[in-house]
Subunit: 598 residues, 2 copies
Amino acid sequence: MRTSIATVSLSGSLTEKLTAASLAGFDGVEIFENDLLASPLTPEEIRARCADLGLTIDLYQPMRDVEALPEEEFGRALRRARHKFELMRRLGADTVLVCSSVSPHAVDDDALAAEQLGRLADLARDHGIRVAYEALAWGRHISTYDHAWQVVESAGHPALGTCLDSFHILSRGSDPEGIGDIPGDKIFFLQLADAPLLAMDVLQWSRHYRCFPGQGGFDVAGLLRHVLRAGYDGPLSLEVFNDVFRQSEAGPTAVDARRSLLTLQETVGLAAPPAPAPPTGVAFAELVTPDAAPVAAALGALGFARTARHRGKPVDLWQRGDARVLVNTGPAERRDGTRLAAVGLEAPDPAGAARRAEALVAPVLPRRRAPGDAPLEAVAAPDGTELFFCATERPGLPDWRADFEDVAPPSYDGEPWRVDHLSLTQPWHQFDEAALFHRAVLGLRPQESVDVADPYGLLRSRAVSTDDGAVRIVLTVGPAPTDDTAHAQHIALATDDVVAAARSYRAAGGPLLPIPANYYDDLAARFEFADGELETYRELGILYDRDAHGTFRHCYTHTVGRVFFELVQRDGGYRGYGAANAPVRLAAQHAVRGFTGG
Amino acid sequence: MRTSIATVSLSGSLTEKLTAASLAGFDGVEIFENDLLASPLTPEEIRARCADLGLTIDLYQPMRDVEALPEEEFGRALRRARHKFELMRRLGADTVLVCSSVSPHAVDDDALAAEQLGRLADLARDHGIRVAYEALAWGRHISTYDHAWQVVESAGHPALGTCLDSFHILSRGSDPEGIGDIPGDKIFFLQLADAPLLAMDVLQWSRHYRCFPGQGGFDVAGLLRHVLRAGYDGPLSLEVFNDVFRQSEAGPTAVDARRSLLTLQETVGLAAPPAPAPPTGVAFAELVTPDAAPVAAALGALGFARTARHRGKPVDLWQRGDARVLVNTGPAERRDGTRLAAVGLEAPDPAGAARRAEALVAPVLPRRRAPGDAPLEAVAAPDGTELFFCATERPGLPDWRADFEDVAPPSYDGEPWRVDHLSLTQPWHQFDEAALFHRAVLGLRPQESVDVADPYGLLRSRAVSTDDGAVRIVLTVGPAPTDDTAHAQHIALATDDVVAAARSYRAAGGPLLPIPANYYDDLAARFEFADGELETYRELGILYDRDAHGTFRHCYTHTVGRVFFELVQRDGGYRGYGAANAPVRLAAQHAVRGFTGG
């Protein structure tokens, strides 16, 4: 089916919006009236621009306060409509959206509404235009899709049909089952939007908080199935009013939108990209740094050994059991200190994973990073992190370590570790996009978003993981769209004995993040501990949490550039990430480092 | 009465919060538990710090989920309480806040709640501590102040009283009348917060959107009067959870908080700063610029004449009727091009206005800007704009023009103008503070806040004005706390003939902002015009709006630095500012200037 997006969903001038929609691969657009009014292009120029970009104009919208009016006011509405139909002729648009009236003069009279909509449709037909009538969730007398359809049905006009909007239907809690009973050819248009489940005024909710399907809490796929069952074959069109998208760059937003729609199409069987296969582990985390020494010191103190070096590039492999960290001192794009730049994911089928990512409009990175390198499948996440789909010691698949030459045996002191989770700072404007990306492209499952109180603003944090916890990524975003590089990323390493791990790190000269004594006094008030247990935590700066399943003990290294390490011990099936302790940890990091770095 | 603020209302570390509270003039603080837990200071050190800063610790908060529990769970709550009472002894705090239970294990049994609160109060009394029990608006079984008071009353314990919180009471729509019946000495604490009137989940509303009294929609003063009638004589304490304050600097937030509380105290008769006397007009607007030539060219084209020059500084007075613009090429603090740096307000009593401002913690500026200058009363607004309280040709008061020497007669072509309004860009974090400042300090009346769609994000805009419209200031804020200097300020000039004014400006070589033809096609659809009227607007780029009272016609000059001019004609008592046209104007400015400057 054809895909479309309303220009109001994207930021910028009308031409910027059209260009972004076209580049992201949409087939058409809905032209939002205010975007046209503010454009210096004539309707004919807009029509030509769309044609050049391969876009059809699927809808002109909205026309408001037309039906169930006193005759004199309806006359003025018809006069407005005549102007707009003439404009649409110049624009080459043949369908107009009419929203149910919110006018204080509108009367509660379905027969009058049908009669006036019929007269509007007469006028429209004379201009070769179809009228798609939609119930606004806050319409004065008509606010549900079935009511709007009753009025359209009773008007019985060939140029009058209905427009369905998933937000208006699902925000009202209407049962979409009845959609299947509307004749498909009378559904003139379908607008799709999701929204977080907020208990708030529906008008404000609609105008500021809509999001793309899959980013909110509505069952948009379920609704779409009913629409398809009815026989609808028009475009699937996204119409999203969102304060964040309004200030984001149009290009990435359009790509995010298209990925959302592709995922929705896959869910209902309208598209079949290569099937998802969630990763089975973290092969490596790659740090890019202008100066390897502090990173090497930290890894050394953590008991990692430098085991191999890339044959063609200044990249070292550090290893402790299944925890592998690449340290790359090659030319970094940004010289802003050490950062977590890439993640290697153990993919059951690396090539298939890359094909799926590409089908879902993820930017595919060059397969060979340098001449002579083994081919590596990789894509860029919305935050710019490079994600490699790779294999470690799996027969029949190329091993990413083939490009590395051993420099030392993989020996180290203590137990083998693995990566428990990675924490990546997201650009403020792309937090919802990031969660959708990790779900749709990688097959990870997003958890609930949580607020975390940093001393200088609320952070939001959302984990995405495989069901078995083999891969866990925590996406974090700062309180405002200021410099996101001010916030730290981290690598959490799983150990079976965090006390021994912390002692060993400290004995090797590694400074652990000091945690205030007040925190331990509070732990003593909240929990009962074995003799000496709390004193050990207090001595080492180990934080403690408990959920219905088990316990979580964790501590933190100092920060190098933007990156620090966390040592974690999960027991009894604890599922979280110690969010309850995050305010104390963040305050402690501020205390050590000053204002930046939280 | 003593004033206090909860540390959760301010950003930063605990010591930063305490310092800010003290500098703003608060007498005490409520210590929010999480702030203490995250602090590296011991309770004794915190106590000493507060003493050094002249702050008392009026409350330790919160203790949760204590009452109406199964005995075993209550036992654990008592165990926690014992730890906390010991902590409070070290801290020197003698009142603890207990919030009504939200525990899923709490039972609906007032007698049990009273009995357990009594046992908690026994323990508290043994530590010299008082328990202030408060109904959370989302408490499981106890969620209203009168219900909480019933339980406290039936417990009949000398160490148990109630805590009233204006948010919890007013957000539930409870009638505060009944507060007057609670014995004053049983109201152990009073927390004050306001909030915008949002239809949303009360927990989210409380945790993210509270604001200082006078910044929201609650009748906090009415509630306070009932509390005073009851005989309460404890501190007036602000407890505000707000996402914006969390990321703002603590110092300005604390000053904003104190101004809010002083204004509230004035309203209920607890404080008597010099009475407000709203300004009667705009004496001048002052532009600071590194280069006077482009400003002079614009003013010249607008028909202003350079009539005087400051005797001691590089400041020119330009004038057209009662519209006066100072052009200052002296050393600007910031060399970011031309900006609107100061406003002269005609004050009925300039010295009294300055005393009121000072009493309301506005930063008072030096009265003489240079040796030899006439004394001028001035304060800084939250956005840094200098506000001068001055007089023009008013007998018995010094004239601010005494420092100026005439250089030309005040002659100009065309009708005399005056300043219709000034538009000032506000720092994102201080939008609510700005509205309160202009209301409390200057006696201007804030209008409703409106959203304006800029192509690159929603702007918010709020006018403050005198009832007669003699002084109108529009406060505007961008979509995000990024660089607020990217947004333009403007001076709107009132004319009785905007068409003539626009023609004359254009004839003098002044470029008017071009408005898209599509806008005029839409006007033709919406309104009926006299023959040729719309063509004139189209030719000159004049925008048109209409409200219940009259019409508004306005057009825009090009932008110099951050500043542009607007020519406006109000007819028939039109009250607005043409907000409906703002999206078109903003898009047109982006089209002329590129991405910045909106």
